[in-house]
């Protein structure tokens, strides 16, 4: 009824609403296919190199694949059960949590402190470049360099002995309580330059009006920082935290280079344990199961941080 009224009320020569809707639908479909054609190379790339391996990995985790055979033999959830009954899994998870917690707070805190210290200084660019420099090296190279920094006759122990603190000289990478903190320090050394640069960008992009207004109202430097700068900088801090946590969570090269020889894998995180089980021991299916768990945790972390980001953006 409505349609017929609309039809009759239209001047001659003008297409009906239905016809216009159909044209629009056709156009929409064409746009979709055009967009898809443009996206196809990227989709294909993601499909082949990301999604397919993920699906294969999940499948592999359900098989008996070890060394030269077993890929076609179904194992059910046996690999996951083995994971839960293996104390190595829990200690590796605990160490991964230490890495995540350290990565959550320290890179952002130190980066912020450095950014505030450097901001507006004469030679800001030079400082920025110097602090960013370690980020230019691969984590493997950094691991090798710091392996020797921490060595028995490395720079740390030599300096300690030089200033008469011989008692503090340690086997940094070979004491259970020291190895992980030592590696985290190395990770920070490399990571902080990036967080500092990101936070500096955020700081420089802040609107000056509210800060000036607060100063005029007599706010102290701390009050300005706490109530104006920090809330305005929150989105940047969240980006920094997300980047740092994921970097810490998946940290592999550094831990492998610096900690793979530590007895009983006592310094290894989940990611490195997964590599160890697959590549060194040849338990491919079991390694795949660790990878699935690792992926699920990483996904949930990045998802939660993404949700937080959305809430901040809405605010």
């Amino acid at each position: 009824m409505t349609a017929s009224i609309a039809e009759t009320s239209l001047p001659p020569g003008i297409p009906s609403v239905d016809a216009m809707a159909a044209t629009e639908r056709r156009r929409g479909r064409r746009r979709f296919w055009t967009a898809l054609a443009f996206m196809a190379p990227a989709l294909l790339f993601v499909g082949i190199f990301l999604l397919l391996p993920v699906v294969f990995n999940i499948y592999a985790s359900l098989t008996q694949w070890a060394k030269f055979s077993g890929l076609g033999e179904y194992a059910g959830l046996a690999n996951y059960e083995r994971l839960l009954s293996n104390p190595n899994f829990f200690t590796a998870t605990a160490r991964t949590v230490v890495w995540v917690v350290a990565s959550f707070f320290l890179p952002a805190l130190l980066g912020l402190a450095l950014a505030l210290l450097v901001k507006g200084l004469k030679g800001e660019e030079t400082f920025k470049s110097i602090y960013f420099l370690p980020r230019m090296f691969s984590a493997t190279a950094v691991g090798v360099i710091w392996y020797y920094v921490y060595a028995n006759e490395g720079i740390v122990n030599t300096m300690l002995r030089g200033i008469g603190l011989e008692g503090l000289a340690q086997r940094w990478l070979y004491e259970a309580g020291l190895a992980t903190p030592a590696m985290i320090i190395t990770h920070l050394w490399q990571q902080v330059g990036l967080t500092m640069v990101l936070l500096l960008l955020g700081l420089n992009a802040l609107p000056t009006d509210p800060i000036e207004a607060a100063k005029v109202d007599g706010a102290s430097r701390w009050q300005v920082f706490r109530h104006i700068v920090l809330p305005l900088l929150a989105p940047t801090i969240l980006v920094v935290v997300t980047v740092s946590v994921l970097a810490g969570f998946t940290s592999f090269d550094l831990v492998w280079v610096m900690g793979r020889d530590f007895p009983n894998r006592s310094t290894l995180t989940l990611a490195v344990n997964q590599y160890w089980e697959s590549f060194r021991a040849g338990y491919w299916a079991y390694g795949a199961a660790i990878a699935v768990v690792l992926g699920a945790i990483a996904l949930s972390i990045s998802w939660s941080l993404g949700l937080l980001q959305q809430r901040l953006d809405r605010r």
Partner: protein
């Protein structure tokens, strides 16, 4: 002959020539995880070229190499030729059905007097010979002659008491007696296996076959001796990453290692024979039979590789004295060819001592025990080395036994 016929004949002749040329130009690629023998690989490549074989080598780190070979075999696309390990590791790869037996080739070489039949023993699985040796290496104690002299040690120790007395003299001269590290994560078993064969070689065999527990007396005794040597300060810091160089630099006077290390020590600046010598470690108990650890590393040919004439031509050439001279001389390796030059005087001396003392060869722990036990066991032994005490030893014995008993139970 018309033009078309001429063209067709020319094309056919060209194709035949290309095929003939192509067959010779087929490159044989050998994959390995031993980049530290680069001089040897280069020597082989050059000598192969002279023999008309186009040869190239491709190196991986051990972990990646194992993964590469395993995935290759899994997908039925094994490389033509690659290095591997003997013992249980050889057995499990042969089980895949993709490794070619080389019985005929060996029979030919043995008949020609180029090899002793015993050289093929480490590569036998179910009566067939798989692989050709890249090295047949004894594990011996290398000693720094200058440091021995400095400590006043006049002759090479031939009994355990003499060895301990030498250690005391070295300590008195402020020299650490033994070099030992957990470098690369695998070295933990070296002293463990040596002390076990020096106290009870039968127990060593029984342990590797699952007939002895890691908590049994022979194993405990090994840890007691080992712990005692640590308590006396006889070992270097295990955290070092430069084991061979440490010995070459004189950080310790003695170094228990495979004789394949001789070339690497030489590269570090000590001349074999002149600056350092070697001896087989004396037995702790004089009554036990003489045995010596032998590490035999094979180069395998896959069944797919064995189908290719150029790969088999390479295999035949590889076992020749020409190839072995090119391979063994530079890195100081010896791979058993009786007509090849002995690469250095230490290897000759050790071979003599082994023959005179009627030393029986024993497979290295890494290859003699199932890898399901070896990997975690070595981790426990590494831990003992970084924190040596009987308490760590007890934990290690219990932890290894838990894994070993589970493994052997699953095999029944």
């Amino acid at each position: 002959m018309n033009m078309i016929q001429k063209l067709a004949a020319a094309a056919l002749a060209g194709a035949a020539l290309a095929a003939a040329g192509g067959a010779h130009a087929q490159t044989v690629t050998v994959y390995h995880d031993k980049p530290f023998y680069q001089a040897g690989w280069d020597g082989l490549t050059a000598a192969a070229k002279e023999a008309g074989i186009d040869l190239q080598f491709s190196a991986y780190t051990t972990d990646q190499f194992q993964a590469f070979i395993q995935s290759g075999l899994m997908s039925g696309d094994a490389p033509d030729a690659f290095t591997w390990w003997n013992g249980t590791k050889l057995e499990e790869i042969v089980e895949s059905g993709q490794i070619a037996p080389l019985d005929d080739l060996w029979a030919e070489k043995i008949a020609a007097g180029e090899y002793d039949a015993s050289a093929a023993e480490p590569f036998k699985v179910d009566g067939h010979i798989y692989g050709m040796p890249t090295g047949i290496n004894r594990w011996v104690v290398m000693y720094n002659k200058e440091l021995f002299e400095k400590a006043g040690i006049e002759s090479v120790p031939t009994t355990w008491e003499e060895l301990m007395a030498a250690c005391e003299k070295l300590k008195a001269a402020d020299i650490i007696p033994f070099n030992a590290s957990i470098q690369e994560g695998w070295r933990g078993f070296v002293w463990f296996e040596e002390l076990l064969i020096r106290t009870d070689p039968d127990a060593y065999v029984a342990l590797n076959e699952g007939k002895l527990k890691y908590t049994d007396e022979p194993v405990r005794r090994v840890f007691e001796i080992w712990n005692d040597l640590y308590a006396k300060g006889y070992f270097t810091d295990p955290a070092s990453q430069e084991e061979q160089l440490d010995f070459a630099r004189g950080k310790a006077a003695m170094y228990l290692a495979g004789d394949w290390n001789i070339g690497l020590i030489e590269a570090g600046g000590l001349k074999p024979g002149e600056d350092f010598g070697a001896f087989i470690m004396p037995n702790v108990d004089p009554d036990v039979p003489n045995v010596v650890i032998v590490e035999a590393s094979p180069l395998l040919i896959s069944t797919a590789g064995a189908q290719k004439p150029e790969v088999m031509e390479f295999a035949k050439w590889y076992l020749s004295s020409d190839a072995m001279n090119a391979w063994a001389t530079t890195p100081g390796l010896y791979a058993g060819n009786l007509k090849a030059k002995v690469p250095n005087e230490i290897i000759g001396q050790i071979a003599d001592s082994a023959a005179k003392g009627n030393y029986r060869s024993m497979t290295r722990y890494w290859e003699a025990s199932p890898s399901e036990i070896v990997l975690p066991a070595v981790e426990e032994m590494n831990r003992f080395m970084t924190d040596p005490s009987m308490e760590t030893a007890e934990t290690a014995m219990n932890n290894i036994e838990a894994i070993a008993s589970q493994y052997w139970a699953s095999r029944q």
